[in-house]
């Protein structure tokens, strides 16, 4: 796209919507689970940017009308207060520039810029507020799928998502697996898991089939045996190339603290 003055002017008009998208992407990126953010060329992103910009400018126009009228009202009630002559509505100035094509004097051009800054701060204030957080909480906006239901939501509601990650690091019929609290997952554009990180995990061997001389018992009909665990500690990050499968169980934090009372408080998750 060639960078013309017209392009910059349209960006300026769409700026509230673009700021909303950027702030929203930042919010989503703050969680421990992450998917690539919405591309600006995606239809839904453009529609959202245009709608939010239109609403923001409409509210900005209402605010300007109200503010100018309030100044006039105060002057009429107390004639000693002099504000100078009544300003043009900043959005009317913008409209006149677009339709008339005449340059505006600098003292009139300040007002649209100030109004734009006000609109952007209002959008940031709304998106960063707790009310938007509560509104968003139960919805899977970034399309995380099973990760949202089994990792993000439990972690936000006082549960610890405990992940068993079976890796493809095999030796004969033995493989390496890790068990720990999921603290971070990365997902690709289609929702596939790219990597997963476990906090203070335990490592253990799993075995497919049965050792020689040990008949298959009824208690292990699946033929998968797990062996003793050793504590690894720290954080283990597992890449999707070596992950065979992931099992996640959500355990209540309070229950975990009862089982392991001397262990220090879990790290904040997600």
């Amino acid at each position: 796209m060639p960078l013309t003055l017209g392009f910059l002017a349209s960006v300026l008009i769409l700026l509230p919507g673009l700021v909303a998208l950027a702030a929203f992407n930042f919010r989503v990126g703050r969680a421990g689970t992450r998917r690539p953010e919405q591309q600006l060329t995606a239809i839904s992103a453009i529609v959202a940017a245009v709608i939010i910009s239109v609403i923001a400018h409409y509210l900005g126009w209402l605010v300007s009308v109200g503010a100018i009228d309030a100044a006039v009202a105060i002057h009429d009630a107390f004639p000693t207060i002099q504000w100078g002559e009544a300003a043009t509505n900043p959005l009317l100035t913008v409209y006149n520039v677009i339709t008339g094509g005449k340059p505006v004097p600098a003292r009139e051009a300040v007002a649209p810029a100030a109004l734009l800054a006000l609109e952007i701060f209002a959008i940031l204030g709304f998106l960063a507020g707790d009310s938007f957080d509560l509104f968003l909480e139960r919805l899977d906006w970034s399309g995380q799928g099973w990760v949202f239901q089994h990792i993000t939501r439990p972690a936000e509601n006082g549960y610890a998502p405990i992940g068993h990650v079976f890796t493809s690091t095999m030796s004969g019929s033995y493989g390496v697996a890790y068990k720990g609290v999921v603290i971070d997952t990365r997902q690709g554009a289609n929702g596939e898991v790219l990597s997963i990180a476990l906090a203070r995990p335990e490592r253990f061997l799993y075995e497919i089939g049965h050792s020689e001389g040990q008949p298959a018992g009824d208690d292990q009909p699946s033929g998968v045996t797990t062996h003793a665990k050793d504590y690894v500690g720290g954080v283990v990050q597992l890449d999707s190339r070596i992950i065979t499968n992931i099992v996640v169980h959500s355990i209540a934090q309070s229950l975990l603290e009862e089982i392991v009372p001397d262990e220090e408080q879990e790290e904040p998750i997600s």
Binding site: G66, A70, V72, G129, D133, S250, A252
Partner: protein, 153 residues
């Protein structure tokens, strides 16, 4: 050096302090229009009956006073002043009412949730002895957390 003894320096310093105070007061409507008014729909929708009256009563009172002071003309101007000046005190009132009606257990649970979030966002922790700005929302988080069912194991 006439100006050195005329008291002008003192007046200008006092003027600087006064203008600082005026700027602080001017932040009240700015905060109302930028931040607080957008919290009202969510706060009201959590408890519509009591909280809509907690917003409407100060708003209508302010409208009445403004009409007495500014006269019956310029409706948009008065409506704007009400919309800008009401949200901040209304939110304070709602928070105070919610704090009064909450049990000590609810306050403690809300403080726990707030401290969990505050630790994640590097904000100062709170105590359940005194209310904090996001208390109303943390109370709702307590309710949602008690209702939450994890996926079956």
């Amino acid at each position: 050096m006439n100006w050195a003894f005329s008291g002008m320096a003192l007046f200008q310093t006092v003027g600087l302090v006064l203008s600082g105070l005026v700027v602080l007061v001017a932040f009240w409507p700015l905060r109302g229009i930028v931040k607080d008014i957008w919290q009202l729909p969510c706060v009201i929708s959590l408890q519509p009956r009591s909280r809509s009256s907690a917003v409407l009563l100060p708003g209508l009172f302010l409208f009445f006073v403004l009409t007495l002071v500014l006269g019956p003309d310029h409706f948009y101007g008065r409506a704007f002043l009400v919309a800008v000046l009401t949200p901040t005190p209304a939110l304070l009132l709602i928070r105070h009412l919610a704090w009064r009606s909450a049990d000590p257990e609810e306050r403690t649970a809300a403080a726990e949730i707030r401290n969990e979030l505050a630790g994640r966002l590097h904000e100062p922790p709170v105590t359940p002895l005194k209310s904090w700005p996001q208390f109303v929302f943390d109370l709702e988080r307590v309710r949602r957390r008690s209702e939450y069912q994890p996926p079956p194991i």
